[in-house]
Amino acid sequence: MDNTVATEHPHTHETAVHAEHTHVSLPQHRHHFETVEQQREAGSFGMWLFLLTEIMFFGGLFFAYLLYRNWYYDAFFTASNQLSIPLGTANTAILITSGFFMALAVWCAEVRKKDMLVWTLILTTVFGIAFLGIKYVEYHEKWEKHHIPGAHFDISEFVNPAAHGIKEKPLPPDMAQRTQVFFFLYFAMTGMHALHMIIGVGLLFWLIWRARRGDFSAGYVAPIENFGLYWHFVDIVWLFLFPLLYLINRHPLH
């Protein structure tokens, strides 16, 4: 099987001279595509279309957030101040770092550095899991404080903040009830995001295993590339969730 790269590949179909200039031929070339290039581009295009569906999927949640934040602004910013800035910022930095390593991984696959590819994929995963770990800590804290929406939701901290040592304006009871809407959106949006991260981490384990076998260091870059697109998209969603959920109104009162 001829796997040599034509190093002087002209990259322009208009100047390719005869029909035999050696193209990279990969074992993963599917028969219904004419060229490996066509396959790679089709795969990339398909992944982008899938990401479009994800934009629209999260779009519904973002709209609900927009609506209720405007309707219940006081409840939203008071509830938002209960979220931990250090943890949220750390998570943002962690996810950005994870994305950085993923981008590097794509580069490693493109230049065929197998060991570095495996390492960057591992680092991507580690930072991804760190993100999920911090998320768990945050969720757990909400559970302890009875801020999970539903039957056990406790509004006492919002109605009477001074008694809990919190420097906030107290909310009237019905507005305090609306903090449930904030927390519902918080859990729904970050939960949906976390679900996508968990799926991503699962896929990363699979990719690491395949990368160690050398599947992606011989010119077959598409899975790493396309997973990278998915991972960066999940990162972008968080880049919006962070200011919308954590940074509504942090100016003093405190």
């Binding site: 479009l52 629209m56 405007n70 200011p243």
Partner: protein, 118 residues
């Protein structure tokens, strides 16, 4: 057998349909990635600090603007879109267009239900 060459000489494919305007295989360097990485972290710090300064209506505007900027550089560089074909760029644009339409048109109903309260 393994030399899967272009199936047709270019004369037979004048419209270049098999690979029209294909994205160049431009490889983005780690240096570019590092610069984007740094920028992202910097703007994260900026957005957090800005949240603590009272700028009334400008706060959410700045926060969203920074978030959009970060998203754009992730898309252009981490996701390589700067070097991709027009088709990919149009696809992404149409996705955001639909998203904005959903938001704007639905919002117009809510705003117009309570003029003056927004």
């Amino acid at each position: 057998m393994a030399e899967i060459a272009h199936h047709h000489a270019e004369a037979e494919d004048p419209t270049n349909v098999t690979n029209p305007e294909h994205g160049s295989h431009h490889i983005v360097t780690p240096r570019v990635y590092a610069m984007v990485f740094g920028t992202l972290l910097l703007f994260t710090a900026i957005t957090v600090i800005a949240a603590f300064i009272d700028l009334s209506w400008a706060n959410p505007v700045i926060a969203l603007f920074i978030a959009c900027f970060k998203a754009v550089i992730v898309i252009l560089f981490f996701m390589h879109v700067k070097y991709q074909s027009r088709l990919i760029k149009m696809t992404i644009a149409s996705g955001f267009f639909m998203f904005i339409s959903l938001i704007v048109m639905t919002l117009s109903d809510y705003i117009s239900r309570s003029w003056g309260l927004w």
